[in-house]
Amino acid sequence: MVLTLGRSNVFLALRDLRVARGRFALVALVIALVALLTTMLSGLATGLVDDGISGLRGLPLTHLALQPGSQSSFSRSTLTQRNLAPWSKVDGVDASPIGVSFFNAKRANGETIDLALFGIDRGSFLAPRPEAQAALEGEPGLVLSEQFQADGLKVGDALTIVGVDRTLPVLGFTYGGSYGHVDIAFSSLSTWQELVYGDNAKGRFSAIAIRATDESTFAATDVAAETTVESKEAAYQGSPGFAAETATMDLIRGFLLVISALIVGAFFTVWTVQRTRQIGLLKALGASNSYVLRDALGQLAIVLVAATIVGAAVAVGLGSLIGGGVPFSLSSAPILGSTLVLIVVGMAGSLVAIRRITKVDPIIALSSEH
């Protein structure tokens, strides 16, 4: 065991960890709590993002062309066939009109629900599943996201759109998703136009959904169509509250990371000050700066990595207990990302202490201890 440890770079640090485990456990606890908070926040941020744009993200489009000046917002964009025509003529580009509006709908039992209604043209590439496409080509009705099914709605239920007083049957269910924190529903574009404009639709819709791999023709088509084309990801900004929510979450996460760096940096600095004599002694015994740094950073890395992993694991556990009422979503990429960032930031926080280590003069080993 001794020899196994001896081959590692952290001969002294490992044994320090064992002997001073109470001290290190306290610091590890603080780091774990920060990791817990950061991971939980990451889950909430991802959940909020999902809640805001998962409906749009799930659509098989790559770009959206909107009315110029609409700032990615469907509610500020109105286009017509005149805008659609130039896009439809471009080779290698699938273009389809889409209407997006928010409605309240009343169930037969009197309960009111919110709908983010996506009106899709018959035969459009946007219909997420063939069965949804088929449903939308028949009698006017709604294809709802799966969340509504979980809320007890069934095929054949009637929903009355509030304000328009138009009753539509539930035709089926399709992939889950929401837009602007409202679960989505699909209807045919003509049904959407009827709900929004009554009998005065004049072929209007919100935007043009585009599926293309080559963007070289976009600029010219944009001019001809009098539209502003943007990527699907850029269009997320138009989701109600999306920009403010992500900015707030990013700010909180940023603060947590700074706090984490300060905590780790402060601890490591105090620990280094306390170890000054020990570091001087190591150098007096012939240890180079890089040896002492490896030892110290190895120790920090062990505490940091172990505490961060424990914190993140607890966060995942707690996250699984959170009910559906709170938008919370954790997948491996953001967990791994926030964990890695926390470790890197923690190591960065120790830079002051590292500088201190290199400055310790071995001559202090000769001074009397008491």
């Binding site: 001794v2 020899l3 001896g6 081959r7 001969f11 002294l12 044994r15 320090d16 064992r18 002997v19 001073a20 004599r277 020990q278 002694l281 190591l282 150098k283 007096a284 015994l285 012939g286 240890a287 180079s288 700066n289 040896y291 003069d361 071995p362 001559i363 080993a365 000769l366 009397s368 201890e369 008491h370």
Partner: protein, 229 residues
């Protein structure tokens, strides 16, 4: 010749004045020699040890360690030379609280990147030779003051140094233990042919020294064969 300090001067600022700590001091210690350095407080004993241990550069003069002129060496090169050629026994043993007696000695090999089973055997042999063969797994807190100092001696000898330096090695011990430690150190140094420089204020424990160097105001006042010490 293992250690040659030639014409060493060290000064420090003292208010508006300059204080001379070592004043053109020359000391030569050959392999197998044990030189005891005595002198009153402030005579430059500790500074002499720091210079000899390559822990401090002199303002002028040259240090030749194991045949290497250290004048032009970089800080990293001095550290490597100290690692490979110098063993230091500190005043109050200076052990690492989290390491067992065996690990204290193994650490020296680890710093050199040479910790293997042969090094571990040597560490055990050294601890055995200082009478701690049964205390290998004890932490410093489980050892007496004399035992801790013995671990310090074993550690200083681990890298097979050309030069052994000791800084008041008996200062924290009672007279009987102090005598034992001094005797052990001089015996080990003589047996292993190491050039040894022991700084001490304790004139009662100089029996094993082959020479005595008395410092006063940074100058060597006398150099006496051991028989007359």
């Amino acid at each position: 010749m293992s250690l040659l300090l030639d014409d060493i001067t060290i000064t420090v600022p003292d208010g508006t004045e300059t204080l001379t700590i070592l004043d053109r001091l020359s000391v030569r210690v050959d392999a197998g020699e044990v030189v005891a350095v005595t002198g009153p407080s402030g005579s430059g004993k500790s500074t002499l040890l720091a210079v000899a241990g390559l822990l401090r550069r002199p303002d002028s003069g040259t240090i030749t360690m194991a045949g290497v002129d250290t004048t032009e060496l970089s800080a990293a090169q001095l550290t490597r030379l100290r690692r490979d050629s110098v063993g230091i026994v500190f005043q109050s043993s200076n052990l690492f609280p989290s390491l067992t007696a065996l690990q204290q000695v193994q650490l020296v090999a680890h710093i050199s990147g040479r910790l293997n089973s042969a090094a571990t055997s040597r560490a055990k042999e050294l601890l055995g030779s200082v009478g701690l063969g049964d205390h290998l797994e004890r932490l410093p807190s489980q050892l007496s003051g004399g035992e801790r100092q013995r671990v310090g001696i074993a550690r200083a000898l681990m890298n097979e140094p050309d030069v052994l330096l000791a800084d008041e090695p008996t200062a924290s011990l009672d007279p009987e233990r102090g005598h034992d430690i001094m005797e052990l150190m001089t015996r080990e140094a003589l047996d292993r042919g190491v050039a040894t420089l022991i700084v001490t204020h304790d004139l009662d424990h100089l029996d094993g020294a082959t020479r005595r160097l008395h410092l006063r105001s940074g100058r060597a006042e006398e150099s006496t064969p051991s028989a007359t010490v």
